[in-house]
């Protein structure tokens, strides 16, 4: 019988500083057999262990199409993330998963996709964006709206030139307030969306960011003509098990870990979910 609580050991093979408080860790399985059998979809997540500190859930930030390592972007926030930030290449951590439903890749086929990210919310979307770019013929236009508090908080900056150059793909960057030498957009994500006016026809919006951003982005998207089923988001909540057992990440009878973390806006509205 499988012991689902038992993590596999992965080694940190690279650490990338994304922003002053976010690092991306590249992880490689010690055991080749485990690595071969480990498969995931964009939007799923893993539980990472720092032994002695505990475990916390993190989404995959790279696409399974480009995988020789697993990438997780971690914001320094609590006990486990603090400990992770202290770790370096060669250190080992525990990993178990993948968990959750992931993005509905099949349903997104043939659609224009609008990615709306705030801060570290770009992490799961980056996995999906790169997945779409690697399966380019399956998806129509890709519109990426990426916001952060300041330009220093923008994640994955070395990917931007690639995204901007990709076929039928546009990238809109925004920061909350005007900064010196900043030439892109200014203003919070919902305001920027109103300016860009992305097409809602045959489109799906995929939103990830802090609760406050999601809260104000949803009505904007509805106003732009997106229907409730065509808005999907991926949620975060405190989790321990990742498998619908420990009890904390519920929305009504649904569990973010097991039934999500990807939900449509209509699903959440049914549950009276408050961001």
């Amino acid at each position: 019988m499988k012991n689902i609580y038992l993590p596999h050991v992965v080694e940190i093979v690279d650490v990338q500083e994304e922003t002053p408080d976010v690092k991306t860790f590249k992880l490689k399985f010690r055991d080749n057999v485990v690595e071969e059998s480990f498969d995931y979809r964009p939007g799923q997540f893993v539980e990472l262990s720092v032994f002695g500190e505990g475990e916390a859930p993190f989404c995959f930030s790279n696409s399974p199409t480009r995988r020789n390592v697993i990438e997780c972007s971690v914001k320094r926030m609590g006990q486990v993330t603090e400990a992770l930030h202290e770790m370096d290449t060669g250190d080992t951590v525990g990993i178990r998963g993948p968990y959750g439903n992931g993005f509905p890749l099949e349903d997104l086929k043939g659609k224009n996709l609008l990615f709306v990210a705030g801060g570290i919310g770009l992490a799961p979307l980056r996995s999906l964006i790169n997945y779409c770019l690697d399966n380019r013929k399956d998806y129509k236009t890709l519109t990426i709206v990426n916001g952060a508090r300041t330009s220093k908080d923008l994640m994955y900056r070395n990917e931007y030139p690639v995204w901007e150059k990709a076929k039928d793909t546009s990238l809109h960057l925004t920061v909350d307030c005007q900064e010196e030498n900043w030439t892109c957009m200014v203003g919070v994500v919902p305001k920027v969306l109103e300016q860009i006016k992305p097409t809602c026809g045959n489109s799906v919006a995929i939103v990830c960011g802090p609760p406050i951003m999601i809260k104000f982005t949803m009505p904007t998207l509805l106003k732009l003509g997106f229907c409730e089923d065509a808005i999907i988001t991926t949620l975060e909540m405190k989790m321990k098990c990742g498998l619908g057992q420990c009890g904390r990440c519920n929305i009504g009878h649904l569990y973010v870990c097991k039934d999500g973390p990807v939900f449509s806006y209509s699903q959440l509205k049914d549950k009276n979910f408050q961001f």
Partner: protein
Amino acid sequence: MREGCVVEVGFSEPVARYLCPVTVAAVADRGRQGWVHRSTIDDINMNNRILLKRNINELLARSAEAREVYLPLEGPGGDVQFLPLQEPKELDNLNLNYDQLIIPPKNIGFPQLESLFEFKDGEINPTVPVPSRHILFGLRACDLKGILFVDDFFRKNFEDIYYRHRTEGRLTVVVGCTSPSPNCFCTSTSTGPFIEDGFDLQLVDLGERYLVEVGSENGERFIGEFEELFLDASKDEIHHSGEVKVTAAKAVTLKVDFKEAIRRLTEDDVPREIYEEIAERCIYCGGCLYVCPTCTCFNLFDDMKEGEGARFRNWDGCVFEGYTREASGYNPRRDKCSRAARRYEHKLKYDYQETGISGCVGCGRCLTSCPVNIGISNFIEQLTGLDSKQ
């Protein structure tokens, strides 16, 4: 209807199904409706036996030679706890007439604290318990219902190896309850005072002897092992056991309209004020969760000293503020009201919607343990006493 039918006793629907030698008149005498039979006594329970009370200690002492035997032992202060028998002398403290265990026996499969694995220098060693034959002797029906609920819980999404190993060698022996506590409402939740199925053996107190009902092959095998201690049951004794069950059901005096409560919760017919009122009174001590036979929320945490450590699982509870608080400080259930609502909704709405079985077994421990007189029975009484929006 004739003698030997199975009679279900209840208000608007059957709340307990009894092997009942009494006639319909006896049931009708309770001023309630009676339901008749699925089959006759002979079909349903051909293996009734008799165990003389004076043979109980011998049975338990001999059972303990090859198994761990958990049983209700009375401490010096009069509290009864469900503990493993360490030495035969402890049988002097056996109390099968207790009204209620303070802590339900769910901890045998799901301990309050357990190690999942140990780690040292990047090596991980699981600490999965070895399955062992054990007997839970003297369970109350409600507590076995709780255990069966938790069994389902720990295999619902995946098979939990720790729970499975702690429970798979289990034999359950219910001693039907004839001395309910004032806060018990098991006849309203269809979970007692006797259990209908899911047990290995069930004992019915006939005075000097117990009628032993056999509920499984596991139970039958156990009897076979100690055949000389069991006698055949006579028709009179079976008849008598039915009467004992009816009397026992009558002794449960607290009644609530459980079905209506479930209806109102599943149809979102619960005024917010009811939760607000509970939230105001509740001191968030978590006592109700600790003593609940079906509460399963848990936490995972590490403990490490000098490079060696272990990951543990321990009980946690939905009413605690820190339970859902995220590392950022954001808490989706920060307000007390939503935490109060979560507990009732989880047990009486979502569990029911998901499995058809509610997460309340009517034991009343939440009320007994509550310093401010909140309990599920109170909640139900209050809810069903309010005007419905329907």
